[in-house]
Assembly symmetry: C2
Homo-oligomer: 400 residues x 2
């Protein structure tokens, strides 16, 4: 059973994604076995502009566009729009993360393409969605982190708000986009019909605020806001990141058994029965004292020493890893989630696999991201039957 075809074998995807959000959905589709064709304007998608900065600034493009063939197409030219329609007739899925209305204005909106091809799944990812009063607000990861509430609840109570370092709005919405696409593919097997599916970045963020919203429910008139490294709902203790000899260390006691185990690990079993700390509700009331007890222990140790103690006593915990440690992580490398490849422009780089794993099928090894238009000849021949001089003429005329 280790040789089943990948689950999306035979699915053809037109990936008009740009920057992080759309391309990540395309990457997940490619890694699940789909035939993904990345379509960019002749000068390349916006993320390619960062190549001007040199070095690692173009690494993200390479990280998110493995395993795709890449063609160029000028949607603003009438012939380009025609070619887009022709491509969409041959595709199972088209995904794009332009602002709302952009594809429609170019004459290649969902209504047109799905009338041409009723089996097409047309997938739109935007900042705020295709409808509603905020529809036309421009959006990037940081602006959605701001508008969604993520920034307001990140950081310390006595400091300014701060965004999450990872591009969470882009990747959460890109992952939802993948989910919506594949859901529609499933449905199409049963109904024969495609769908317009959409994901708004700001909506993909909302459920992630569950802990903070819980606290707000109780403190509507006096909202608490940022909780630093404590639980965002201040509903669990210990739950914090503790300074130690060589960095920081995260510990959480999700229940009283974890706490008792931590007390043993700390060599202070008497704390487990201390009425200030016995139950989670007690520790939440005495959060500062609880944290102080843990910090007093952790501060004298290294991350490795803490982990040895917490691990042995089954307390959920982890070192705060620096990025270099993450990149070198033997666990993710051994599982194929981080893969080194030789990239024609960037040299030896690490690229991600897919976090979605299908037992019974080997993971799809990464092929390097292509230069803009690198696969024009092959793809335009394969999908539209255009050959040699026809493709060259399109290039000369600025259509591709």
């Amino acid at each position: 059973m280790a040789d089943r075809p990948p689950p999306l074998a035979g699915v053809t995807v037109i990936d008009l994604g740009q920057v992080y959000q759309g391309p990540y959905a395309g990457l997940l589709l490619a890694k699940a076995g789909a035939n993904v064709i990345k379509v960019e304007p002749p000068h390349g998608e916006p993320l390619r502009a960062r190549e001007a900065l040199g070095g690692g600034a173009s690494l993200p493009l390479a990280m998110l566009n493995s395993n795709k063939r890449t063609i160029t197409l000028n949607l603003k030219s009438p012939r380009g729009a025609e070619l887009m329609r022709a491509l969409a007739r041959k595709a199972d899925v088209l995904l794009e993360n332009f602002a709302p209305g952009v594809m429609h204005k170019l004459g290649v909106g969902a209504a047109v393409l799905m009338a041409d091809n009723p089996r097409l799944i047309y997938a739109s990812a935007t900042g705020y969605g295709l409808t509603g009063p905020e529809r036309d607000n421009l959006a990037m990861d940081i602006t959605i982190q701001a508008a969604s509430g993520a920034i307001a609840v990140t950081g310390f109570a006595d400091g300014p708000p701060v965004k999450a370092g990872p591009a969470i709005a882009d990747f959460l919405s890109g992952t939802h986009l993948y989910g919506a696409i594949v859901t529609a593919l499933y449905e199409r097997e049963r109904t024969g019909l495609g769908r317009l599916v959409e994901v708004a970045m700001i909506e993909a963020m909302f459920p992630t605020l569950a802990s903070s919203l819980g606290m707000l429910h109780t403190n509507r008139d006096n909202p608490i806001g940022r909780t630093g490294n404590r639980h965002s709902g201040l509903a669990v203790s210990p739950y914090n990141v503790y300074a130690c000899q060589d960095g920081w260390f995260a510990i959480i006691c999700n229940n009283d058994e974890h706490w008792a185990n931590l007390c043993t690990a700390m060599g202070r079993p008497e704390l487990a029965d201390d009425p200030r700390f016995a139950r989670n509700s007690d520790r939440v009331k005495n959060m500062a004292a609880t944290d102080a007890a843990v910090e007093a222990w952790a501060s004298g140790l290294t991350r490795a020493e803490i982990f040895e103690a917490t691990g042995a006593h089954r307390v959920p915990s982890a070192p705060v890893r620096e990025l270099t440690e993450v990149l070198d992580n033997a666990h993710m490398r051994g599982r194929g989630m981080i893969e080194d490849i030789d990239h024609p422009r960037l040299g030896r780089i690490a690229v991600p696999g897919s976090p979605m794993r299908y037992h019974g099928t080997a993971q799809t090894p990464a092929t390097p991201s292509a230069a803009a238009g690198q696969d024009n000849a092959e793809v335009y021949r394969e999908l539209l039957g255009l050959v040699g001089e026809e493709v060259e003429a399109l290039r000369r005329e600025g259509v591709i």
Copy 2:
């Protein structure tokens, strides 16, 4: 076309999810039309323990378990394991986010259940995955934020690292879990076979670090780390959160046209041609001066005044919204992403819809999360044909 059935109509899901990650995948399945049955131990899943804290601490459970029927089952009793096998024979999907090996030890692991029902999709979400040297490390959102690098890259350069306030590791991996499940459902329509699919929280986090990893690629010997509210790769400027009269405001100029527009909005068109700021590569070199120019302008205005100016000139930007503003947001409420319901235990609360939207089908209105075991009678009759006294006996014996 506004009355198509939801895409997952007819799909039956056994949702053993607990806390945030698994239940969110189950919620997305339910909102897409699946028949989701939440299965908890007789005392309820771990998140129910927070009900002891009262008030909003139990709001997250209600947010993530709308539209599910809820039954109890003691998997640790032999009869309970038997019933689990019987339920899985009737299901299309079983999802769980126990630690690796837990279901196997109870005699209801993927191999057993899929031998009983080769069409079953068995979906596992764990902290580190089902294989590899870190497999058995215990995981919760905060420990994965720590181990994945997310905490190391969040916060200010001159301050301690800080976790993202939203539960990003839980929700990113829960969304990936949904995607993997639905991918396997699609595949099953073509092959007739189920799959074991898995998602590891730590792996779902890795791609989100793209910007930081780009910077690391260039500065491997002198990694930069936390960038506060600046771009995590320091590859874009302006890209920051600026203090203003009534809070903070996020602005990003993703290209030189955005910058020129911002200069006009600020009443300083001359800056667009200033050689220190003309191109993004110039602004990145002169990031402090660029930020100072924007901050000087923003600091005298309110969020609404800034947004009026940036919006009129098409500069991607957004106010840093407080959580109360997010909860009251008319846009998400109008689109049905935030829905008020009357909950039997919590009263009037707001719960999320699904960020995945299927045009042509009305969204599934929220039904309140159920009490543990609330639907025992109905579900055990419907799926297993158990009636009245049989179900009551199971309850008396502690099996359900």
